[in-house]
């Protein structure tokens, strides 16, 4: 992998909330075609880090480069347009809109300006067809017309993925996509993400260790805002620091 250029490079990133160092000198990168998993106990700062990358939080210091572009100063929307496709830890959808219209919003953003005032979106095949295609990819085409508020928890997670797909991102930021899915749902999504890495690399925050070990090319372990270990699945499994800090009984 050394000959490839990373898609996403994070260098010496810091973020404090008062006395709490939520992100403490974090560096990591994401290469084409890989799934890089970010694991760590609750409160380790995984979500803070994701929010620094997505643009919700501005970093205190350090740099984030994405496709050779410095992301400093860019807002959430600009970073999304630059090609960061993101799913939320807790589903974040336009709840009154149907599943289809949620995806159409992403297609609309991808296809250019939203300052188009006259043509009705309800009949706009340029929006509807690609959106429907994305729903099919996640297996939600039968629920296209259901308002997001009426979808089940699992369906909402699928919808989040469909929206991220519709953005045709250059990298995915997936914040606990398995959260709250049953075993069958997790297994399905694991298979799906396994393929997805060929479309764009994935920075995956996940608590489901079966999924992480099945999917990840590399793992970074975050504890109290610091990366205490990084490496392949086997290296992380064998790392005594990680066992102690995080995996505990689970890994034995």
């Amino acid at each position: 992998m050394a000959d490839k250029k990373p898609i996403l490079t994070i260098k010496n990133l810091y973020k404090s909330f008062g006395a709490l160092k939520a992100t403490d000198d974090v560096s990591l990168d994401l290469y084409e075609g890989e799934i890089h998993a970010l694991i760590g106990p609750n409160g380790a700062g995984k979500s803070t880090l994701i929010k620094q990358i997505s643009g919700d939080y501005q970093s205190d210091s350090g740099s984030i480069h994405f496709l050779d572009q410095d992301l400093a100063g860019l807002g959430v929307a600009e970073r999304a347009r630059a090609g960061l496709g993101r799913t939320f830890q807790v589903s974040s959808l336009a709840l009154e809109f149907s599943a289809l219209r949620n995806v159409m919003l992403a297609v609309q953003s991808k296809s250019g300006s939203s300052f188009k005032f006259f043509k009705s979106v309800q009949k706009d095949a340029d929006l509807i067809e690609p959106a429907m295609q994305m729903l099919k990819e996640v297996g939600l085409e039968g629920r296209a017309d259901i308002p997001a508020a009426e979808l089940s928890h699992g369906e909402r997670r699928q919808l989040e993925v469909a929206i991220a797909l519709a953005l045709k991102p250059k990298a995915f930021l997936l914040d606990e996509p398995m959260a709250g899915l049953g075993p069958a749902g997790s297994k399905n999504l694991t298979g799906f993400l396994d393929q997805l890495r060929h479309q764009a690399p994935i920075l995956l925050v996940e608590h489901d260790m079966d999924a992480v070990f099945a999917l990840a090319d590399r793992i970074s372990v975050l504890v109290y805002g610091r990366i205490i270990a990084a490496g392949t699945v086997d290296e992380i499994r064998g790392n005594p620091l990680v066992r102690e800090a995080y995996l505990g009984e689970e890994a034995s």
Partner: protein, 329 residues
Amino acid sequence: MVNLSRENGFNFLLAAGLLIIPFIAQSMDEPFGITLATRVAVLALAGVGLNLALGSGGLVSFGHAAFFGLGGYVAGILAHHALNYEPIMLSPFEINGTTEMLIIWPLAMLVSGLAALLIGYFSLRTSGVYFIMITLAFAQMIYYFAISWPAYGGEDGLPIYLRNTFPGVNTMDPISFFLIAYVILLLVIALVHVLNNSRFGAALQAARQNDERLSAVGIAPFNIRLVAFVISAMITGLAGALQADLLKFVDPSALSWHMSGEIMIFVILGGVGRLFGPVAGAALFILFESIFGGMTEYWMLFLGAVLLIVVLFARGGLVGFIAGKARHG
């Protein structure tokens, strides 16, 4: 839950009812009825403006009187200069007043829109209660400025001695003026309908539902909201210009927070985010005013009770009560 045809039917009844009333009033030799219907049309238009911000965009502006009043003052000031043959300014070039509605309206919309651009640029960085208070504060600033500026009547207001003119129409004829206001109302409602269904409308409604989601797909909510706020203000400003011509008078009360509250009441009574909600709301308001206003000066007490009932038990307002919950395709 959804009954779109029912809502369309109710909207049609509202539109038809509002159109018929002035003609009935005229045949019964009750010209005051024409004025009432015209007021409904003008106030409904102000509400349609606010409804774009409040209903579609979720922007609870408590300062829309600023735009209503500015529109009114544009009409009043232009007419004042034209009727007194005083240019508005001489250098660097001469600008004269006008009594031509077709010039007054775009200018009223331009001034309201520019004010909204400025107010929105600052206030849209906040949300919730802060947004409400900042829009209120801006509107009050303009209100006190109007009161303290003697050139255009200050507290006493500015009379328009002759109603402004429209090519080919005798605007002094109450029915003709009603029809002008009515046609504008329906055209603007049609425009808002188109906007709501466009890509812009989709982004605006998404910003109301979940701005985090909208940002995450790469659309900055601030820009969308700012444009919506400006369009909304332009519509309310146009209504203000019509109101000035209807009353042949404009005074600072058009800018006061009472007015902002009234416009909001039209929207809430009729149904927030419903296309014809402001028409239903303004009609209800004027109906209450003319029925109970004659009996007691405390008629607002009844209105308040109705508003309370709507807020507590019928969130969709009158339109929602009749046609059921709103739906997005």
